[in-house]
């Protein structure tokens, strides 16, 4: 049984339908990537899983449990953490306080402690007392990932973690993913950087205008298939 599944997942913003019946799955210890153009519904998909966008209860199943209608604060307690697009660190909290508050809802014990996050991202230890606004974009992204890890999630949802970052910084951040995976955390990556996504993912889903346009293992997909799924024929 997959750890996380969506069945005919739909999502709405008022009268606007953003997702149209998405079927996806994530196995234990697996990394999947969601790719697609802007507005294809990638971020909405993550928000629906994380509880920020409500869906029907059975449309999102986590470890056999229907969670589609649960609020975000409950979902993180079950073991799903979201690294939101744009980092969105808490401005009035220091870097260390941002990390600590990651464990607020789910302080169950596990591999990810403050020291372990600092070991993963040593730069954060040096800036532990700093205000997030004084950090570089890459450091902010590290803090946002560290904050999500502090809840010791079983599933980590990452929304555009490479957005607006220099290639060398992106490489640093992606270098941390194998260590996260080694702790048994499954990961859903939403990415516009297809090369990075294909490199780390076990499977890839491509969305187009809220619909699933392609699914498969990176090595099995051709450039033409991806191009067609990404932009339409």
């Amino acid at each position: 049984m997959p750890l996380l599944e969506t069945h005919q997942l739909t999502a709405w913003y008022g009268d606007f339908q953003a997702l149209y019946g998405l079927d996806t799955s994530l196995d234990m210890g697996e990394t999947i990537a969601i790719i697609g153009a802007n507005g294809s519904g990638k971020s909405t998909f993550l928000k629906a899983i994380a509880g920020l966008v409500r869906s029907s209860p059975d449309s999102v199943m986590f470890d056999g449990l229907p969670i589609g209608a649960r609020p975000a604060a409950d979902i993180v307690k079950l073991g799903i953490a979201l690294v939101p697009e744009g980092r969105r660190l808490f401005a009035s909290l220091s870097v260390e306080e941002n990390l600590l508050i990651g464990a607020y809802g789910r302080n169950t014990g596990g591999p990810w402690t403050l020291d372990r996050v600092y070991a993963l991202f040593p730069l954060l230890r040096e800036r532990r007392s700093s205000a997030p606004a004084t950090l570089s974009g890459g450091q902010q992204q590290m803090a946002a990932i560290g904050r999500a890890l502090m809840s010791n999630p079983r599933v980590l949802l990452c929304d555009e973690i490479s957005l607006g970052l220099a290639p060398i910084i992106i490489a640093d951040i992606y270098a941390a993913l194998p260590q996260i995976r080694a702790e048994g955390t499954s990961t859903v990556l939403v990415e516009q950087d297809i090369v990075q996504a294909m490199r780390v993912a076990d499977r890839v889903y491509c969305f187009q205008e809220g619909r699933l346009s392609l699914a498969g293992r990176p090595q099995e997909l051709t450039r033409e298939q991806i191009h067609r799924a990404y932009f339409g024929s």
Partner: protein
């Protein structure tokens, strides 16, 4: 010269009372961006609650307040959980209307139960006790206790906000409500806790209001005005700023009264307007507001 020095000292002490009025308002606005128009009436309601507890059990108000504090924490928590949480959203109008309505309900409810008669909390000799400082200047024990309590309240609030997990949750929720929920923070519970805490501060303010002056069911709106002015003079989101705002207001009033007793209230409002003109964000605004 002695008269002016006395005015300055009394102004600082009066500022402690205004800071107590303002601290609860500042807390609520800081955490949930709720402008509570019933704040002054809640202070008066708490003063009546202390009066009832003191009268019923024959207790000194300083003891009665200890019994009233946990009860009013629960009342504040429940008020937020049951009523005010439903009004919070992107539209600022519903909480304003609901708290305005609450203000009217409290005033009329108190009128029904206690009549329009002025009341006062009685605590015996301490009410008139004073400490001579020499040179003909003396400070009242109750005003001094008021200022010390205001400082203690602000130290405690700062400790809670900056040294505890619940304080981190307050600040995180204030910064970004959506992401706070991703941390497992139940913002409705956080707001209710903040309101409960504000009610504790309100109850302490009510104790000193009742010991220092007469109060009646319609005394709330004026207290709200002083609280607003102190918060805005000090700068939104800063507890120490709120204390400073209260002291500026108190000083302006006592200096105004020293010039002419009729100027006391007006001088406070003028000081408020002056700060608005010179520093619209207040004297000590929080950096990111």
């Amino acid at each position: 010269m002695t008269g002016w020095l006395d005015a300055l000292i009394q102004g600082v002490l009066l500022g402690g009372l205004y800071a107590l009025f303002a601290a609860g308002l500042s807390l609520i606005f800081g955490v949930m961006r709720l402008v509570n128009l019933a704040h002054g009436d809640l202070i008066v309601l708490a003063a009546f609650a202390i009066l009832v507890v003191a009268g019923k059990f024959g207790l000194d108000p300083f003891v009665a307040v200890l019994l009233a504090l946990p009860v009013l924490f629960v009342v504040g928590f429940a008020l937020q959980h049951v009523l005010l949480n439903r009004t919070l959203g992107r539209d600022l109008l519903p909480p304003l209307l609901v708290t305005f309505g609450l203000s009217i309900i409290i005033q009329n409810g108190l009128l029904q139960v206690f009549s329009a008669d002025s009341q006062r909390l009685r605590s015996g000799a301490i009410e008139t006790a004073s400490i001579p400082l020499g040179g003909g200047i003396a400070i009242g024990v109750v005003p001094l206790l008021t200022l010390l309590s205001a400082i203690a309240v602000i130290l405690l609030l700062n400790f809670i906000f900056y040294r505890t997990p619940v304080g981190r949750a307050f600040r995180a929720t204030s910064d970004d409500l959506e992401v706070a929920q991703l941390m497992g923070i139940d913002h409705r519970r956080v707001f209710a806790t903040a309101m409960g805490l504000a009610f504790v501060v309100i109850t302490i303010a009510a104790l000193y209001l009742g010991l220092r002056a007469n109060f009646d069911p319609t005394a709330g709106p004026a207290r709200l005005l002083y609280a607003f002015e102190a918060v805005i003079i000090g700068g939104l989101g800063s507890f120490w700023g709120t204390l400073a705002g209260g002291i500026v207001l108190g000083l302006a009033q006592t200096i105004g009264a020293r010039i002419d007793p009729e100027w006391q209230i007006l001088a406070g409002h003028l000081a408020f307007l002056l700060v608005l003109v010179v520093r619209p964000r207040g004297l000590f605004p929080r950096a990111q507001d």
